[in-house]
C-alpha cells in the first residue's frame, strides 16, 4: 500500500510537470499584452517598452518558465502583473478557500442525494419513481449552469426575494455567517452532476439486481431488505465511487461558470479575471493549483475504492 501510494504521488508530480509545460505554452499563445492592458489605449510605445522590461516580459520564454517553476517549487508563486503588489500565493489561498467551501458544500449535498435518487430509481425500474427521477435528472443534465443559475436567480431572488442574487462574500466575516449567499451557487453547481451521477448509479443498481448473485440471494430465501442492501447495493455502489470522484473533478469546471454568474469570489472568478487582464503568472498559478487539486482528488477516490473493494489490493 505504501509503495503504491508513493508511486501514485510520484506520478502526480510527473503529471503536474507536464501540465505546467502545457499551461505555460498556452499562456504564450494567448494574444494580447499585459502592458497594454495596464497602461490602456493611450500608452506610448516608449512607456510600453519600459513596462515590459520592468515586468520581465522581454526575457526569453525558457527563462521565464524556469523562473516560474523555480518559484512554485520554493513556494513563491510570484506577484500579480495586473494588480500591483498583490502576492499571488495569498490571493489564491484566500480565493481557493472560498471555492473549496463551495465545492465541499456541493459535494456534501450531491453525494448522498444522487446516491439516494439513483438507488430509488434503480430499485423501481420502469415504475413511476424511476420515470420521475430519470426525467428530472435528464432535464438537470441538459441545462448548462449559466442557464439554470440564471433561472434560479430569477425565481428565488428576483421574483420571490428569498435569497440574494449576488454572492459577494465579505472576506472579513466567516463564511458560515453568510450561508444564504451560498445557497443558490451550491444548488446550481450540484444540479448537473446530481442528474448525471443519479443516472449512473441507477444503471449500476439495475445491473446488480439483474446479476446471477442477486438471483441466488433471492432464491436463498433471504428477506428482501437483506437482498437489496447486502447483495445489490454493496456491489452497485462500488462503481459509483469512481463515477462520483471523476465528476467532482468536473465540478471544478462548473464552479468557474457558476462563480461568475453569481459574482462569487473564488478561484473560478479569479482565473477569468486573470485571463481578461492577460495576467500570465496569475493564470499559470491558478490553473496549476486546480490541476493539482484534481489529481489529488482522483487519488483519494482510488483509495476509497480500494478500501471498499476486496478484489483490489495494492
Amino acid at each position: 500500500m505504501a509503495r503504491y501510494l508513493a508511486r501514485r504521488l510520484g506520478l502526480i508530480l510527473v503529471s503536474l510537470f507536464f501540465a505546467s509545460v502545457i499551461i505555460f505554452l498556452i499562456t504564450e499563445i494567448i494574444p494580447g499584452d499585459v502592458a497594454q492592458v495596464i497602461l490602456g489605449q493611450n500608452a506610448t510605445p516608449d512607456t510600453l517598452a519600459a513596462l515590459r522590461e520592468r515586468l520581465g516580459l522581454n526575457n526569453p520564454p525558457e527563462l521565464r518558465f524556469l523562473k516560474w517553476i523555480g518559484g512554485v517549487l520554493t513556494g513563491h508563486l510570484g506577484e500579480s502583473l495586473s494588480m500591483q503588489g498583490v502576492q499571488i500565493g495569498e490571493l489564491i489561498s484566500r480565493r481557493g478557500l472560498n471555492s473549496l467551501f463551495l465545492a465541499a458544500a456541493s459535494t456534501i449535498i450531491l453525494v448522498p442525494l444522487s446516491l439516494a435518487l439513483g438507488v430509488i430509481a434503480g430499485l423501481n425500474e420502469r415504475k413511476w419513481p424511476d420515470t420521475l427521477i430519470s426525467t428530472l435528472s435528464l432535464i438537470a443534465i441538459s441545462l448548462p449552469e449559466f442557464i439554470s443559475g440564471t433561472f434560479l436567480m430569477l425565481i428565488f431572488s428576483v421574483m420571490l426575494h428569498w435569497l440574494p442574487a449576488a454572492s459577494s462574500i465579505d472576506s472579513s466575516r466567516s463564511l458560515f455567517s453568510q450561508i444564504p449567499l451560498l445557497v443558490l451557487p451550491v444548488i446550481t453547481v450540484s444540479l448537473v452532476l446530481l442528474g448525471y451521477v443519479a443516472r449512473m448509479v441507477r444503471a449500476s443498481v439495475i445491473d446488480a439486481s439483474r446479476s446471477t448473485y442477486a438471483r441466488t440471494a433471492v432464491l436463498k430465501g433471504l428477506p428482501p431488505f437483506l437482498v437489496t442492501t447486502r447483495h445489490i447495493l454493496k456491489n452497485a455502489l462500488l462503481p459509483s465511487v469512481t463515477i462520483i470522484a471523476m465528476n467532482i473533478g468536473w465540478l471544478f469546471g462548473g464552479i468557474i461558470i457558476v462563480e461568475s454568474v453569481f459574482g462569487f469570489p473564488g478561484l473560478g472568478g479569479l482565473v477569468l479575471f486573470a485571463i481578461q487582464q492577460r495576467d500570465l503568472p496569475l493564470i499559470e498559478d491558478v490553473v496549476l493549483v486546480m490541476a493539482a487539486a484534481y489529481l489529488v482528488l482522483n487519488l483519494l477516490a482510488d483509495m476509497v475504492y480500494a478500501a471498499l473493494n476486496p478484489r483490489i489490493r495494492y
Partner: protein, 692 residues
C-alpha cells in the same frame, strides 16, 4: 394415494410461455413429472429445450415476461404456482435449494463466502451470526475442504472454480433441503473437479436424504448420478425411464441421435463416423406442427408432421412420446430424406498410414510470463512458467491431441506456436524452418501457413463485418485477385456445408454452430498446412459438435491439413487425434500414439484423467481414481516431479526431489512417459475401462 405420498414433487400438464416482441411462445409444453423421495432425476436436453425454464418454474421464480397458462407444480402436495412471494421465501433455501452453472457468477463478489453460507441459516433458522458461521464452517469441512475456517474467511475471487462450486454446494445443503435443483453444475469445470463434485453430491444426497433434479446436456454426467432420466426436446419429455434403460437401449429417435453423436474415449474415427442429428434444434418460437422432432427425425413418417405424437408406455415406468417407437424397435427403415450429412466416406481414409515427415517440431519450448517490468511497476512476484520445456512433434496430415486441466499451459503453448507470443526459449521448427525467434520477425508467409480456430465463435468474428468480408480478407491478403478471391470464398463456404446465401449475412444472424463453420472456413482460406484448434467445440451442443468434428475430419482428408487439437474434453480429443500429449503444469507428462496413451502403461496423471471422465457406457467398468485439489500455481511449481503433490501413485522422496526420467515404453520408440515408477510396474496397471 400411496404413490402420491411417496412423490415429493408432482408436475401436471405444465405450460410456461414467454411474451416477447416477436410474440408469445411456449418454452414448456404440457410437461408431466413426478419425483420420488430420495431419487435423483436427470433432465437431459440441448440448449433451448426449456430445461432451465422448467427449473425456475419449480422454484416459482420465472422471468417477468413469463406466464403459466396451465398446469400444477405440487411440492409436498401444495401448488407452488399458487403460493405468495412470502410463502415461497420460506421454501427457498430451506426446503428447496438450487445450484447453478457458473459458480463465479452465483456468488456475491464482495462478501466473504462464509457469510454467504451463514446468512441462509440466519434467515431460515433464526440462529445467531456466530452459530451460523460455525455451521457454515462445519458444512465446508464436511465437503472435505482443507482448512475450512480459512476458506470461509475468503472472498470468491480468492478461490478456484472448483472450490467456488463447493461453496455453492455448501450453500445449498446447509439447511438440509428436501429438494435440490442442479442446473448444469459441472459444465466448464475440469473433468477431475467434475468427478470430485459428482462423488460429493452422491454422498451428500445419501446423508441428507435429498431428492435431486439434475439438469444437464451431458449424458455421461447424467449416467453417473441419476436413477431416472427424462430427455427433453422442445419443451416436453420425449422419453422418460430408468437411466439404465435409456442409456442402454434408447427408444426415441432423438435419444438415439444424442447418444450416437457423442465422441467417446474408446471410439476412434477409423471405427465409426459420428452421426450428428440432422438440422438444428427446434426454435421454441417457431415450432413445427405435429412432432417437434419430425423435421430432424431419420424415421419420420408422413403423419409425424400432422398430428401430435402419442405417448407409448413400456416396462419399468418408461414412456416414449413417439407413435412409431415400437415400429422402430421392430426395424422400421430410415427415411433417408432428412440425412443432410454427406454419406459416410470410407472410414479407413482417416487412418494415417506409414511414417510421414514431421511438419512441426518443438524442442524444449518455454514461455515464461512476468519477466518484463514496466516503467513504474516492477513486478516483484515470481515468473509464471506457463510453458516449461515442451518437446513434441507433429507429422504432416495427422492430428495431435493435447489434453490437460485448465491452467496446464496448453493455450499458452498454442499462442506461442501461432505467433501470438514469443517463446522465452527452445526451438520451434515448422517445415524445417526455425520460427522460434521474436514473433515480429516471423515472415508474413508463416501466418498463412499456420492458422487458428478459437473456442468461442461468438467473439472471434467481427460483428460489423459480413461473412464475405471475414473470409475474403485472408484470401486478399495473400495477393489473390478480387474475382478469384470471391470464387474461393464461395468454395470455402461450400466446403463447410453452408450455402453462398450466407456470404452477405452478419455473424449475429448465425447460430453458434454456423459461426464455428465460418471460423473454420476462414482458417482454411489461406490454405494453411497447420491449423491450431483451441477447444473449437466446447461451447456447442453435442449434435453440432459432432457435425463440426466430422467437418474437420473431412477437410483434413481433402486438403491434407495437420491439426493440433487442444481441449479438456478428453472424449473429443481422443476420438479425432492420431497422437496424444498429456500436459501438466507446463510440461508434457505422456506423449505417444493415441492407443498407447489410452491404455497401460499410463502416466498416473493420464490414468486419473481417464478415470475422472463421465461416459455414458453401461457396458464398461471404470476405475475410480480421484485427484484432490486444483493444479498448483505456475508461479510456484513443485520441485522434483511437478505432479507429486497430487499423485495417487507417489513413490516417496524421489518424486519430490528429482525430475522424472523419460521412460520409453516399447521398441517402437514412440511412446514416452515422464515418471519415476519402474516401467514394469506401469505396464501392470489395470486399464481404466474394462468391458463387462
Amino acid at each position: 394415494m400411496g404413490q402420491a405420498m411417496e412423490d415429493i414433487l408432482e408436475i401436471k400438464g405444465l405450460e410456461v410461455s414467454y411474451r416477447t416482441r416477436a410474440g408469445r411462445f411456449s418454452a414448456v409444453r404440457g410437461l408431466d413429472l413426478s419425483l420420488r423421495r430420495n431419487e435423483t432425476y436427470g433432465v437431459v436436453g440441448e440448449s433451448g429445450c426449456g430445461k432451465s425454464t422448467l427449473a425456475f418454474a419449480i422454484m416459482g421464480y420465472l422471468e417477468r415476461n413469463a406466464s403459466v397458462p396451465a398446469g400444477q407444480i405440487l411440492f409436498e402436495g401444495d401448488d407452488i404456482l399458487k403460493k405468495s412471494r412470502g410463502a415461497l421465501r420460506s421454501l427457498w433455501g430451506s426446503k428447496i435449494s438450487m445450484i447453478y452453472q457458473d459458480p463465479s457468477a452465483a456468488l456475491n463478489p464482495s462478501l466473504k463466502v462464509g457469510l454467504q453460507i451463514a446468512e441462509i441459516l440466519e434467515a431460515h433458522e433464526g440462529v445467531s451470526r456466530r452459530e451460523a458461521w460455525a455451521q457454515a464452517v462445519a458444512m465446508l469441512n464436511r465437503l472435505q475442504i482443507a482448512d475450512p475456517e480459512k476458506v470461509a474467511d475468503r472472498y470468491p475471487h480468492q478461490l478456484s472454480g472448483g472450490m467456488r462450486q463447493r461453496v455453492c454446494i455448501a450453500m445449498a445443503f446447509v439447511t438440509k433441503p428436501d429438494l435440490l435443483i442442479l442446473d448444469e453444475p459441472t459444465t466448464n469445470l475440469d473433468v477431475t473437479t467434475e468427478a470430485n463434485i459428482l462423488d460429493m453430491l452422491n454422498a451428500l444426497k445419501k446423508d441428507f436424504r435429498t431428492t435431486i433434479l439434475y439438469i444437464t446436456h451431458d449424458l455421461g454426467v447424467v449416467y453417473k448420478v441419476s436413477d431416472r432420466v427424462g430427455v427433453m426436446y422442445a419443451g416436453r419429455f420425449v422419453e422418460e425411464g430408468t437411466i439404465g434403460d435409456i442409456i442402454g437401449a434408447p427408444k426415441h429417435p432423438y435419444t438415439q441421435g444424442l447418444l450416437s453423436c457423442i465422441p467417446e474415449v474408446l471410439l476412434d474415427k477409423s471405427k465409426r463416423r459420428l452421426t450428428p442429428i440432422a438440422g438444428a434444434v427446434a426454435e421454441l418460437d417457431s415450432l413445427p406442427k405435429g412432432c417437434a422432432f419430425a423435421p430432424r427425425c431419420p424415421f419420420a413418417q408422413a403423419d409425424c408432421a400432422e398430428k401430435d405424437p402419442p405417448q407409448l408406455a413400456f416396462d419399468r415406468g418408461r414412456v416414449v412420446r413417439c407413435g412409431y417407437a415400437r415400429a422402430i424397435e421392430e426395424g422400421l427403415g430410415k427415411t433417408a430424406s432428412c440425412d443432410d450429412e454427406p454419406l459416410s466416406p470410407e472410414c479407413d481414409d482417416y487412418a494415417v498410414e506409414g511414417a510421414r515427415p514431421e511438419l512441426l517440431t518443438l524442442e524444449s519450448v518455454r514461455k515464461h510470463f512476468g519477466d518484463s517490468s514496466t516503467m513504474f511497476a516492477r513486478r516483484e512476484a515470481g515468473k509464471v512458467k506457463a510453458v516449461d520445456d515442451v518437446t513434441l512433434s507433429i507429422p504432416r496430415q495427422s492430428t495431435l491431441g493435447l489434453v490437460g486441466e485448465s491452467g496446464c499451459g496448453k493455450s499458452s503453448l498454442l499462442r506461442v506456436i501461432a505467433g501470438l507470443e514469443t517463446a522465452s526459449g527452445g526451438t520451434i521448427r515448422f517445415g524445417g524452418e526455425d520460427i522460434s525467434g521474436p514473433i515480429g520477425k516471423r515472415k508474413r508467409e508463416m501466418t498463412k501457413r499456420i492458422q487458428v480456430v478459437f473456442q468461442d465463435p461468438r467473439s472471434t468474428l467481427n460483428p460489423r463485418k459480413t461473412i464475405r468480408e471475414a473470409i475474403l480478407r485472408p484470401i486478399l491478403l495473400s495477393g489473390v485477385a478480387r474475382k478469384d478471391a470471391e470464387r474461393r470464398a464461395e468454395e470455402l463456404l461450400e466446403a463447410v456445408n453452408l450455402g453462398c446465401e450466407y456470404l452477405d449475412r452478419y455473424p449475429e444472424q448465425l447460430s453458434g454452430g454456423q459461426k464455428q463453420r465460418i471460423a473454420i472456413a476462414r482458417a482454411f482460406a489461406s490454405d494453411p498446412e497447420l491449423i491450431l484448434c483451441d477447444e473449437p467445440t466446447s461451447s456447442l451442443d453435442v449434435s453440432i459438435q459432432a457435425s463440426i468434428i466430422n467437418l474437420l475430419l473431412d477437410l483434413q482428408r481433402q486438403k491434407g491439413t495437420t491439426y493440433l487439437f487442444i481441449s479438456h474434453a478428453l472424449g473429443v480429443v481422443s476420438y479425432l487425434c492420431d497422437a496424444m500429449a498429456v500436459m501438466y503444469l507446463g510440461t508434457i507428462v505422456e506423449y505417444g500414439p493415441k492407443d498407447k496413451v489410452l491404455s497401460p502403461p499410463y502416466h498416473p496423471y493420464t490414468e486419473a484423467l481417464l478415470s475422472s471422465l463421465s461416459v455414458p457406457r453401461p457396458k464398461a467398468e471404470q476405475k475410480r481414481i480421484r485427484l484432490e485439489g486444483a493444479v498448483p500455481s505456475a508461479r510456484d511449481i513443485p520441485a522434483g516431479c511437478r505432479f507429486h503433490t497430487r499423485c495417487p501413485r507417489k513413490l516417496g522422496r524421489i518424486c519430490e526431489t528429482a525430475a522424472p526420467p523419460r521412460v520409453v515404453t516399447d521398441a517402437d520408440n514412440d511412446h514416452y512417459i515422464y515418471c519415476h515408477i519402474p516401467l514394469a510396474e506401469m505396464k501392470d496397471m489395470e486399464p481404466v475401462f474394462k468391458e463387462v
